[in-house]
Amino acid sequence: MSTEERRIVVLRSSDEEIFEVDIDVASESQTIKHSIEDDDSGRVIPVPNVDGHTLAKVIEYCKKHVETPKSDDRDAQDALRAWDTEYMKIDQNTLFELILAANYLNIKGLLDLTCQTVADMIKGKSPEEIRAMFNIKNDFTPQEEEDIRKENQWAFE
């Protein structure tokens, strides 16, 4: 296998979309990295848990973070953070899928970023607001809810 050929990896999403990705970019995913190490015959690597739309978004993240040289420079760090913030301007469903993908593909930076984004959505909100936002059913009885509030009054004021 020539060096030229080894630089590209082919990924196939759950909905059969094909992505040709630089090996360094793909290796941001520990899962894919181990896949390549185990079998580098150049076949297509299936990514069954992730659809094309999400996988494209994942690749966008990996590409940017591989291309950006690691630097102690404050401005460079700020610029990357700003890029991450823009990148995170996605709808809730994409965010949800991205968390699952980052977890399955084992991409720490992306998992941290997406989870922090969700945490930021939850911060400062009341339980009712949180339930509404995430479509979560309230399975407490009114009495249980009242007890919970009384237990830690300071948190609900």
Binding site: I136, W154, A155, F156
Partner: protein
């Protein structure tokens, strides 16, 4: 940063967030500031069980910054007592309801340390009561051997993993007058026997100032350090060997008016108010080597922040400067009422040795006038806060 500007907050969810794995849900919830975690625990039973598990509590304790507590005592009108807590992560103050504290009396000393609120009442039976911070679970121990006002109290974990209280110094009143002759013994509580072990008292060097008014304490590496705020004497009580070290003095050059000893993770830090001849008062931070008591400068507090805490440059104004800290945070504040107890916080970056200072937001009004302001830093146990026998 603000949740309101997150686009995700605006679109209704079609995703099945309920189906998120326990690990992922735990990861997300652990990133929240403590108050938000408590609110999240009220969202649904799953989230409550996730956040009240011991493993979650341990995980969160490792990452959450200790809180800064301010307890204001009014000696005439007890109902004017107030308690506040500052979460440096959320950068917000919380008003703590008075129901969290036992009904107070004039003689009661209140303090907090190591995850506990503690009250000592010197009256006849030397009461000592404690509760994990922010819980209603107050318990009273058997009485202290020697009753006292305003002792120093520390909390340490012994070799068997049990929380132990250590009570040092304090002042005894006999016939309405302060008893300066008797050096009060150190007492260490054994929760298994519900008894207090009597140990050697503070060394005589501390005789003139042995209450929490003039002493600063720091629990560090198996020792309970006691440091004279005005005297600069320091001695360490070895928690294993139950004895005091030789009394030393830590007095850096430059006239130091008052200084405080603080445990910052794995370093001892001294914060001192210096009176420089032409420069006016300044606050300096030093690393202290716990074995040699040698000190080295870290950085001064920015002068403009210091002057924001105090009205004028008159020397006696700065006498109300106090300092507490824990982890990588140090709080410098003014315990005078007229500016509503303003405070600054310094965050130390241990890798770079750099300090970044900022003003703490003002206390939420109304803030009463207090005869005494008690402040301390402490971590909080998520597990204790979310424990409930009812649910």
């Amino acid at each position: 940063m603000e949740a309101e500007t997150c686009p995700q907050a605006l679109t209704p969810s079609q995703s099945n967030w309920d189906s998120l794995s326990v690990d992922l849900a735990e990861l997300i919830l652990s990133l929240l500031p403590i108050r938000s975690i408590v609110r999240a625990a009220a969202v649904c039973k799953l989230w409550r069980s996730l956040t009240s598990s011991r493993s979650f509590s341990v995980r969160v304790s490792a990452t959450k910054k200790p809180w800064f507590f301010l307890y204001g005592q009014n000696n005439i009108f007890l109902k004017n007592n107030q308690a506040f807590a500052f979460d440096p992560e959320a950068n917000e103050w919380l008003c703590l309801p008075t129901s969290l504290f036992p009904s107070s009396s004039q003689e009661q000393s209140f303090i907090g340390s190591g995850g506990f609120f503690i009250t000592t009442t010197p009256c006849i039976n030397a009461r000592f009561a404690f509760a994990p911070i922010l819980t209603h679970s107050w318990r009273e121990t058997s009485p202290l051997t020697y009753s006292r006002c305003n002792p120093l109290v520390g909390v340490f974990v012994d070799a068997l993993g049990m929380h132990r209280f250590i009570v040092v110094g304090g002042v005894r009143f006999i016939g309405g007058l302060v008893d300066i002759e008797d050096r009060l013994a150190v007492e260490i509580y054994d929760p298994r026997l519900d008894s207090w072990e009597v140990c050697p008292p503070l060394p005589p060097a501390f005789r003139t100032g042995n209450s929490s008014h003039s002493l600063s304490s720091a629990l560090f590496r198996g020792n309970f350090y006691v440091f004279g705020i005005y005297s600069c004497f320091v001695s360490a009580f070895d928690l294993n060997r139950r004895c005091w070290s030789e009394v030393k003095m830590i007095r850096p050059p430059g006239v130091v008016v008052s200084s405080f000893l603080i445990t910052c993770r794995d370093q001892l830090v001294m914060v001192g108010l210096c009176d420089n001849a032409h420069g006016g008062p300044s606050v300096m931070l030093w690393w202290v080597d716990e074995r040699t008591m040698e000190f080295s400068e870290i950085a001064p507090m920015p002068q403009d922040l210091l002057y924001r805490l105090f009205d004028t440059e008159e020397d006696d104004r700065f006498a109300s400067l106090k300092c507490v800290g824990l982890g990588n945070l140090i709080y410098v504040f003014n315990e005078e009422h007229h500016k509503c107890y303003p405070a600054c916080v310094c965050e130390i970056n241990f890798e770079s040795g750099k300090c970044s200072w900022r003003m703490v937001p003002p206390l939420p009004l109304p803030v009463n006038s207090f005869h005494k302001v008690i402040t301390f830093c402490s971590t909080i146990s998520m597990h204790d806060i979310l424990q409930s026998e009812d649910l």
